[in-house]
Each structure stands twice: as C-alpha cells, then as structure tokens.
Symmetry: C2
Subunit: 154 residues, 2 copies
C-alpha cells in the first residue's frame, strides 16, 4: 500500500481534509478548530503559504484520499556560509493509515525536496511530550542537538 | 550605553562586519569563513534574504558601529488556526559590548517586531551546548518545550 503514495502540492480543495487531520491529534485537538464551513483564518493562511515560493504545503495521497500533510519552508541564512535550510512543520498522517509507513515516506519526500532545493540542513521542532515522534525522527536520521525554544505572543 | 542602541535593516555594506561577528563565536568559528574579500556565498545569501519580504536581517548599532545582528523569518502556518510565527536565527553581539544588555535589546526588538507583524509565537533553536544562551532566552520568557531536531544534507 505504502508504495502507491503520491505527493503533490495541496490545493484549497484539500483544506478541509488537511485541517481535519491537524485537529485529529493530541495537541492539535486543543488548538485547532475543525468546523464546516472552515474558519476563514485557515483559508487566509493557505493563501499566504500558496503565494510564497519559499513555502510548500504538500499532501500525500492514496488514490483520491489525502492521507498525509506537511509544510516545508525554505529559508536563506547567512550562517553556515550562506546556506539554505528546510524547516518541516505541521506533519500529520491520517489515523486511518497509521503503521503503514506513510509518515516515513512523507519525511523522506521532504528530505529529497530539501536536497533538490540546495539545502544543507533540514530541521524541525517537536514537542518534548511527543516521545514517539522524537524516536520516529531519530530513526530517520534527525538528531535532537538543539533546544526548541518558544514564546507565545499577545 | 545600552539605551543608545539603534536598530535598522542590514545593508550589503554591513555584510563584512556581520560575517565577522558570526565567525567570532565558539560554533561559528568552525563553520564560517571570514576572509576579505568576503566569500561570494555570503553576498548571494544576503541578496536572497533582502529580496524576501518574510525575512529581515536586522543590525543593532551604537553610533556608527554595528554591534549586533539577527535574522527574523516570518512564516504563515495552517497550525494554531492559521497563525504566523517569527523564527529568530543567527543572533550575535559583538565581543566588544558583551554584558551591556545588547543581546537583550536585540531579542526584545524581535519580540516587538513579531507582535507588529501579527505573529502568535516567536521561536528559535539553540545548540544544547550553548548553556548560557539557553538561560539567556529563558530569562527573556522563552521555554524549551520542544526538541530542535536537525539533519545535515549532502
């Protein structure tokens, strides 16, 4: 099954399904608002992402069904001798396909895309309470070398 | 002295001084290449940052002297109900002004700028070996809630 996964850029038609997946998560459940019609804030964010050549919202599909999503941001930095980095965020797979390797394919796709775009580094932060996710990323080759520090703003 | 600090967008004329500061650091010393003329990779990265409305390279100045630098990236995300985030990277202060609060002013400036741009979150990652930096950011209100996971690419 996993080898039938097709990756493509998300369209606004995918947005309800994407937000449904973002909300179907232990942390997402408390932060997202999956309701139909979809809150306009999600459509505004989609359009901002879609308009930015340095942001890519990617969905994984099995046939007609969207079963995974991730956002990849490409950023030029002066550090590391002027290197581009890829940052992955909002990674979710559908609860209907857990354990089928879709998450692994998603992240491997992001790694390949980052290499295509000339990035020297791919990075992400994951909540320290997501112990399974941390082990998952470590198996794929990420190392938890940094503290991911955050501050909520007004 | 600290209350005379002026913040402004970096120009290409500041680049030599910025790279000198990036290299004058325990980790930066092994990764940067401060030589004159400056390696072209830094100029290319500067132009990419300067051309991107979602990236701001900011310098702190005392009179004519550039004494601090940071890059702030603004990213639209679907997560957190379509919220924008600010990510701070490449923060350095001149070794000539350590202990004068320039770093605090720099980060407080980034926080204000993030609020102006409507961000709900400001974030950064810092190497776990930078224990002083971690304590510095915690004092300013950041919390190390996440693992910062990285993978080097070819």
């Amino acid at each position: 099954m996993a080898n039938e996964v097709v990756f493509r850029s998300a369209t606004e038609q995918d947005l309800e399904r994407i937000v449904e997946m973002l909300a179907d998560d232990k942390l997402g459940a408390t932060r997202e608002q999956f309701a139909l019609p979809l809150p306009e804030v999600y459509r505004e964010a989609f359009r901002a992402i879609d308009a930015d050549p340095n942001n890519e919202l990617v969905v994984a599909c099995l046939g007609e069904e969207v079963v995974g999503v991730q956002q990849i941001t490409f950023t030029p930095y002066l550090t590391h001798q002027g290197g581009w980095r890829a940052t992955v965020e909002g990674v979710r797979t559908s609860s209907t396909v857990r354990g089928k390797g879709i998450g692994t394919e998603l992240i491997n796709w992001a790694i390949q895309r980052a290499e295509q775009r000339g990035c020297h580094l791919i990075q992400l932060t994951t909540d320290k309470t997501r112990e399974d996710a941390i082990r998952f990323y470590e198996r794929l080759g990420f190392q938890a070398t940094h503290e991911g520090m955050k501050m909520k703003l007004k």
